[in-house]
Chain length 246, copies 2
């Protein structure tokens, strides 16, 4: 029997998990699609955020009932990025995101960020979180297949020099949790991307928390040993009343 | 024993049920709150859309950890409405909404719309759906307590001159379904407002459909007898592939 190993390494999704950007991503896709005369509902776009662009566009084609040309696909990606950037003044870190990352840094808990987004779209969010170039971040353009394929999380574990089986993956979408399962990591869901709690549970979440602030005060449930109460720096911004969603 | 009665009367919610406006409502509240230095996450606002303004603001106060003054409350409502109207060019009817209402009209199925929104904010959506002044519409400002109180749906039934027990209430939010239960109507959920299927089921939905187009082709499951296939006018705009969400 192999001896039990700790799961002390954390891999985070970015949009909807650390940064409150999902709703802007949705409306940016909607705007880009509308410009090409493709009318999809916001909720259908919402439920696909977090997927690789390639799969996302594939699902849009199914909904639209037709294929998009290569030119249309390129136009959609370009328009979405532009529309998203126009909305960027509305985007903020999620409650507790900076405090959580800071606490992990202080406690020397290995952690990484793996996002299906490309580096260009992810950069403002990373900056907003105060993430330096030293941090372990893998973006969709750095691997072959983004989520729900496991590649992103496997690349994060490799860069952290840890086993993926010793990682907890934290994400707001079913695609994060599917990718976590496929990678053999433990999946944890956050509600702050707008998915329902049961959707995340069904997709394999071991636990579901409201947002990064809620996760930070429950890190013990993941076996991560950080004395949150003692760290004055980290407890400052925590909303103690956040709790789990009803 | 009273004899079984038909449930052939339909009462609809508006935002997120017939019109794809929830995501814009969310960001408009977010913008209004931000302007007052109150920073709430989009998902928390999303999960309250459909409530009466009074309860919505009450829940925001809980999240913000402080009371809002009367002046702040008025400012929030005013800013939200302005921000929502600025976003109105992005808003469209949900797939099948117009066709569904037309089919009910043609088949003389009594139906009404009950929305927590006030008349001013609801008017553009009603116009977009082609709803005339003859239609039965009750807005939040016409009754004492909007959803999740049952008043709106009770007022709709009264105006239709039918028993509320003979009505099916169709909505996208848990507040619609709670109000339906409290009114003693049968609740049916739609996914197109962005709530999860299980959230709607838990809140008492007898059935959950994807959107109005999906509901239109499943009206038989509610005991409503309309020959959709034969009505060329109504079947034109229906996405037959919509189906139920996975």
């Amino acid at each position: 029997m192999p001896k039990p190993t700790p799961r002390n390494n954390l891999i985070f999704d970015l949009d909807g998990t650390l940064v409150d950007s999902v709703y802007q991503h949705v409306l940016a896709w909607r705007e880009a699609l509308d410009a090409l005369g493709i009318h999809l509902s916001n909720w259908k776009i919402h439920r696909r955020i977090g997927m690789s662009d390639e799969l996302l566009l594939h699902s849009f084609m199914r909904d639209a009932g037709r294929k998009f040309s290569k030119a249309e696909t390129q136009q959609l990606k370009k328009s979405q990025t532009e529309s998203y950037f126009r909305r960027s003044s509305e985007i903020q870190p999620l409650p507790g995101a900076k405090e959580l990352l800071h606490a992990l840094e202080e406690a020397e808990v290995p952690h990484a960020i793996g996002t299906s987004s490309n580096r260009e779209r992810a950069q403002p969010s990373l900056k907003m979180l105060g993430i330096t170039s030293n941090a372990t971040v893998i973006t969709g353009d750095e691997i072959k297949n983004a989520k729900p394929n496991p590649d992103l999380f496997l690349a994060c574990a490799k860069k952290l020099r840890v086993n993926i089986e010793d990682c907890v993956v934290i994400g707001d979408s079913t695609w994060d949790l599917l990718a976590a399962q496929r990678a053999r990591a433990l999946g944890v869901g956050l509600l702050c991307g707008g998915f329902g709690e049961e959707e995340l549970n069904r997709a394999g979440a071991y636990r579901v928390y409201a947002d990064p602030a809620d996760l930070l005060v429950h890190l013990d449930e993941l076996g991560v040993r950080i004395d949150v109460a003692r760290s004055s720096k980290t407890s400052a911004g925590i909303d103690e009343k956040a709790g789990r969603a009803a």
